[in-house]
Structures are given as structure tokens and as C-alpha cells.
Subunit: 416 residues, 2 copies
């Protein structure tokens, strides 16, 4: 990695010093990512998917009172002993109690109170006979044809959650059930870890923002869009930035913005070894380069650094497919670690190759494939081709030392 | 299903007429759901996860010009024939071209142009020798040690996408790769199906909104929160509504709001057969009841209707666990059909039961389980207990005719 060539010179490019394996590259990246410690209060109704930052201790019993779990009749269980269709027991109906009502009058021997699901158990009663266990009786009476024991069809006060119990520990992801749990405790907001802010820096003099005309030799900015989508899908907040010119000054200014405002910095383009690939030169005074070049295909020109301000930086190749495959491989685990989210669930299906696949030895290849009737077909058309991935359902990994895979080979497809 | 009892009377409750199997109930619900036809324009950078409503036809070639896929040297391939480390070929370097530059001067026999990845191929050149295939040469020259054939390391104009091609068909979900594809075509927005608006109606005199004190016999509104989270996770927009009182009038007014403003109406509570379970009476004049009661546990008191205004209505039991299990089982597929999303990917793991599980025959049971070291443990504590689900990693399904599962039985756990 020699000195930067003079502008306008015909200096040679600088090849990669050494390529890391994908495992090494990922390990070094994860080593540079410290899970975020900052927290914020999140309104309970919007807390699904967030990561809890503090223990939740129940401020009240759930249920807050002993309640019926069925529509039926609150009884003294002893009054139903021996009841059956052949030996019905008739009880006098004292009152009706619904969910939300204060407790009804006491249930004395030989009597009952009609109770709805969620109704507060009246004093004296110790069980509920469900409506299906009763028959119509004479006016003001109910005929019980089913025996119950004390506690039947009841949820005792505090039986789900006793006041003072820690119900959720820091670090758990708030699923719908856990959000419901917070709500059932009356909690209007909850402390969660802040979502990582991820600055996305598109670089390259050839890159044009959407909405502008493309001139000769120019292309539209697609990587910002793919990276922003991956960031959102994995718990981050993408911060968009205009295209950064291929100069050291522009790169340094953009990186400093990231160091001041973001939790993770992504750069697309400029990570390779071309003359205008100034990323490594811009990064060197601002931090430490941990990886430059990785033995994967597509996606070799990956750059990973730790910035002096503590954030990790990932430099992606500008080629859209390389950029996105690197995002799945490196950005997703790093961002989820930063966000304290569990690893992305991998969904895989088994399929057989529908065609022979040739492979260049020496690099781990991620081959995008389309699934059709249980067969996997190669959709890779070059690392610049976004249709390589937009037409794919997932990808297969081909190890470094494999030269070809015959049609009919069974493969495991990781779905996007 | 007799007439509604007089208010304040001690009338008996009305048992379910007949219970549907879960398959029947789901089929009837899906039969009442028409995928949304309305569309809206969505900004490309926010389109990930949305469903495309119109075909996307490429307005331009991608790449828009023949470009280099490597950092290297644009050459006439014939000049490299026979080149190797032992037989190097020296070419005169004419110029340097970077991505974004207009085309460089023509490459004549015996010359080359330094080119960066993404750079426009100069006239006369028909291939690129990657930088790794070259060595330093005398001033103003490059030594080529690798032979290339015409087309090597090039992406031809239109080779990824030819202008006028339909690149995405209506109905596809916009993955990150597809969003990138839209961006690479310069499209700033795209027509997507509208997201379903889902009105959530919590009912019950006992239900108190978060932030208020709970009185005797009252509980906090948790179902709105769990349902809103499930709706968001599955492509819908939850519309929240204050608690609806247990009166026919309040129910009818709330349902009419749903008929006017929502694409799907969810009601929690009031779907059972208690005296104040007025949902069925409120729904009958406004639509057709398709399901009332389903042979699942928890979640028997499900109500499904088709409203006269065309929307489906799902009435959930008020018990939090019943409500949420029904949401996973019935709401998720119905909402995804409405949103034109593919079925929710089911992630399953195999485990062995860590304990014996007893089961009441005649109802399909969804048993929430916690996973620990490959073993599954029952977390079900009753359908009122939210900890049944908040502590679970997933659930197992126990068929209607099974009486018990011994510890050690291998089971398939569907993860939440």
C-alpha cells in the first residue's frame, strides 16, 4: 500500500496487501462493535421489536383480584359435589356480576352468582361452574350438572404476576406478548436501548442522486437505497448523506460527520485499490484499518476500520451486488450486535441445483439462486448487476476449495 | 343463540351453537378477505417491504454504457494474447479514466488506458486487464502478464437490464435488492398497494386505558397493544380506538366507524357467549357471522364476520393469551392476504419435551413452550396469563385426539 499517487499522474494502482477469510473479517468487525449503552423511553404501544434496557418490576398484581376465567356461575364448590346430568344440583341465583363490576353479594351455601369471564369472584365463592355445566332451572335458579373443585375456572390474584416480581430482564426483545405484558402492568412507557444511527456515505464522482439526469459515464445511486433498507430491517436508523466526491478532503469531512453523529459509518465505493479509492487514505488518520480485502465473491474489496471516536466503519465495494452481499454478510451481524438484537434468524431450505455451477477456487462464493419447483438456479450475472439479487430467492455458499458443483447436487439455500 | 336477555335480568347465557375446526375457521375468514386493490406512490428509499402494484419497466439501459468491472487497464484484447509472467507484454499508457469521467481517448494497438471499476470503456478497447494481471513498467508504460479475451472484466451497456424490459412484476415484495434495482433505474417513487388500515376495538367495562388508575375489578388494556404489534409486524397500520363499553349501542357505533374507515376490524373481548358479550348482536344487523367458536385452546370464543361494507371482522376473546394466540393463528394470515404479502415465514425447531404434557381431547391446543438446551417446557398458565406467552419462545400444536405427550417426545416448535 504505497503512497498516494499524485493527482493526474499515471501512477499504478495498489493491490490489496492480504485478504482475510470471511470468518476473520467478521470477527475483526465484531471486535470493533460495542453494543450501544444509551437508552431512551419508548411509548409502550410502539415498543414492539425494541430491546429492553432496564428490568421491569411489576408495580401491581396480575390479576389484580381473583377473577373468573369462564362465563358461568360463582359457587361454593362443596355445593356441586356429586353433581352430574343424572344428579343435578339446583342453586338459587343471587345476582349477576360482569367484568368491571365491583364484587357481587356473598355467595352463601345453596346459592350462586352469575359471573362473566373476567368478573371479580364474589365473597364466599371458591369456584366457577362454566355455563356449559349448567342447565336452565326454575325462575331465579340454576341447575348444575358438573362438579367443580375449589379454584376451578379461577385466576387467583397475583397468580400470573405477583407485585414486585421482575417480569422482564434487560436485553430481551419486546415481542407482541411482552408489549402486552407491559400494558397489563399499566406501564405507559419503557426504557429501551437506543436504535443505532447509521450514516450511509455514497461515494464516487460517477454517482448521481435519484431525480437528476445521468450524464455520460454516470450511474444512479442505488447502494444508499439497498443499505438503508438493510439497516431498517435490522433495527437501525439510516442517516442519508449526499454523494461524497472522490477526494480525500470530501471523504475526511464526511467521515468526521459520522464520527460526530453516528453509531456506525457505512461507505459505499472507494474501498478498493484504484487510484481514486481514497477511503483507506481518508480513514488512516482517523482510525485503524482492521480489514482490507476479504476472500469472498462477490465483495472482495471490503474495508473495516475502527474510528478513533469509537465507531466501526464498513467500506463496501461500489458494485451493487458486492455491496449488498457484503451487507448481508457483515453489516447485518455488526448492526444487530450494536443494537443488541439477537442474530438474524436464518431461514434455509434444501434444494438441488438445477444446473452445473463453476467456481473460481480461493474465494468463498455467495451464489444468488432462484428457487423453482425445489431446484436452485444461478442468478449471478456479475457483481455490478442488481438483477443478480433482485431475481434471487436466496443464496448458497460455495467453499473456497470447491471447483464446481454438478447439476443435481443437494444444497442449502439461505433465504433473503 | 336465543334472543338477547333483558338488561339486569338473570337470564341464562347462550352456549356456542357449533364449533368450527381451526382449518374451517381460517378458510371462512380467508374467504371473507379480498386483497386490497388501492395503490399509492411510495418514495423509493422507503419502499422496502412494500408490495409492488404495477409492473416496473426499465426507462434506461443498465449499465448505461459499457463499463469496467475491475480496477485495471482498458486494452485491445489481441494485444494481450500470449501474455504471461514469462512472456510479459508492454503497453503504452495513454490516459487515466475514472468512474464518472467521459470516455478517454481511443485505445490504439499497443496502448492502454488505466481504468477504475465503473469507468466507461474508451473507444478501441474491448477488454480490461485487472491490476493484478499487470506489473510496473518503464515510465508511461504498463507490463501485462495475463491474457484476456474480448469482453473480459466488462459489463456491456444494457447487459444487466435492457431499456424497455419489465424488471419487476406487480405483486412482488420489495426486498433491499429490488429497492436498489428501482434506484439504479433512477425511479424516485413507485406504485405500491396501500397498507391495510386495521381498526382495533378493545371492549369491556372492566378495561382501563394505560395511564389511568385501575379500580376494583378493573384491568389494563393489554390486547390493543398486542394486536397493534402483530398488525405492524405483518404490514398493517393499526388504528387505535378508545375502550368500547359493553352496550349494543357503543358496539354498533364503533363497528360503523370501522366500516367507514378501516380495511379490517378487530374486536377484543365480547366474542364469547356471556350476557354482556354483545358483539354477535351488534354484528348481526351489520353483516354475516361466519364463525362463532373454534375448537382450539386457548382461543375458543373466536368470532369471524363479513361486514356489509365488505370488510372482514375478527372478534377475539378478551383473555390476553387467547387473544394473541388467535392473532397468530387467524389475524396474521388474514392480514397478510389483505396486504398481498406472502404467508409469514414459519421458523420451526425440533426439540424434545422436557416434561409430560396433559391435554384435553377435542380441541387443537397451542401450547406455548420455552426452549432450554434443546428441551421444550410448557409455559402455559391459563389463557388470562400473559406470562404464558411472554416467557415462551414458540409453541407446539397438539392435535384434537391426543391425550398426553410424554417427556422426551420429539416435537416441532414454531418460533414466535
Amino acid at each position: 500500500m504505497g503512497a498516494r499517487p499524485l493527482a493526474g499522474s499515471m501512477a499504478r494502482m495498489r493491490p490489496f496487501a492480504s485478504l482475510a477469510s470471511k470468518e476473520e473479517a467478521l470477527a475483526r468487525l465484531l471486535g470493533a462493535v460495542a453494543p450501544l449503552a444509551a437508552t431512551e423511553q419508548v411509548v409502550t404501544v410502539e415498543a414492539a421489536g425494541r430491546v429492553l434496557a432496564q428490568p421491569v418490576v411489576a408495580p401491581l398484581d396480575v390479576p389484580g383480584f381473583t377473577r373468573s376465567t369462564m362465563d358461568g356461575y360463582a359457587v361454593r364448590a362443596a355445593d356441586t359435589f356429586g353433581a352430574s346430568t343424572l344428579s343435578p344440583k339446583t342453586l338459587r341465583l343471587l345476582a349477576v356480576t360482569h367484568a368491571g363490576d365491583p364484587a357481587a353479594p356473598s355467595v352463601l351455601p345453596g346459592t350462586c352468582v352469575q359471573i362473566a369471564t373476567g368478573g371479580k369472584l364474589p365473597p364466599g365463592a371458591d369456584a366457577v361452574v362454566r355455563v356449559e355445566g349448567t342447565r336452565a332451572g326454575p325462575e331465579g335458579h340454576v341447575v348444575v350438572v358438573e362438579m367443580v373443585t375449589p379454584g376451578t375456572s379461577l385466576a387467583e390474584q397475583g397468580s400470573d404476576i405477583a407485585r414486585g416480581t421482575e417480569v422482564l430482564a434487560p436485553g430481551v426483545v419486546l415481542t407482541p406478548a411482552r408489549v402486552g405484558l407491559l400494558a397489563s402492568l399499566g406501564l405507559t412507557e419503557v426504557a429501551c436501548y437506543r436504535r443505532p444511527r447509521v450514516l450511509i456515505l455514497p461515494t464516487g464522482n460517477e454517482i448521481v442522486p435519484l431525480g437528476s439526469p445521468v450524464g455520460e459515464g454516470q450511474i444512479y445511486n442505488s447502494n444508499t437505497h439497498t443499505l438503508a433498507a438493510v439497516v431498517r430491517e435490522n433495527g437501525g436508523i439510516p442517516l442519508l448523506h449526499p454523494v461524497v466526491a472522490d477526494t480525500l478532503e470530501a471523504h475526511v469531512a464526511a467521515l468526521q460527520k459520522g464520527m460526530a453523529e453516528a453509531d456506525l459509518v457505512l461507505v459505499s465505493g472507494g474501498s478498493s485499490v484504484g487510484e481514486r479509492d481514497v477511503l483507506q487514505d481518508a480513514v488512516r488518520p482517523l482510525g485503524e484499518i482492521l480489514v482490507h480485502g476479504v476472500r469472498v465473491k462477490p465483495g472482495k474489496p471490503l474495508l473495516v476500520a475502527r474510528l478513533r471516536s469509537g465507531q466501526a466503519l464498513i467500506g463496501f465495494p461500489g458494485n451493487p451486488t458486492s455491496c449488498l452481499m457484503n451487507a448481508y454478510l457483515f453489516l447485518v451481524p455488526a448492526l444487530r450486535a450494536l443494537a443488541r438484537l439477537p442474530p438474524r434468524p436464518h431461514r434455509t431450505v434444501r434444494a438441488v441445483l438445477g444446473e452445473r455451477v463453476l467456481h473460481q477456487k480461493g474465494r468463498f462464493q455467495f451464489l444468488p439462486v432462484r428457487l423453482e419447483a425445489g431446484k436452485a438456479y444461478d442468478t449471478f450475472k456479475g457483481s455490478g448487476a442488481l438483477t443478480s439479487l433482485s431475481e434471487a430467492d436466496g443464496y448458497i455458499g460455495i467453499p473456497e476449495d470447491v471447483e464446481l458443483l454438478e447439476a443435481g447436487t443437494e444444497v442449502e439455500v439461505t433465504l433473503f
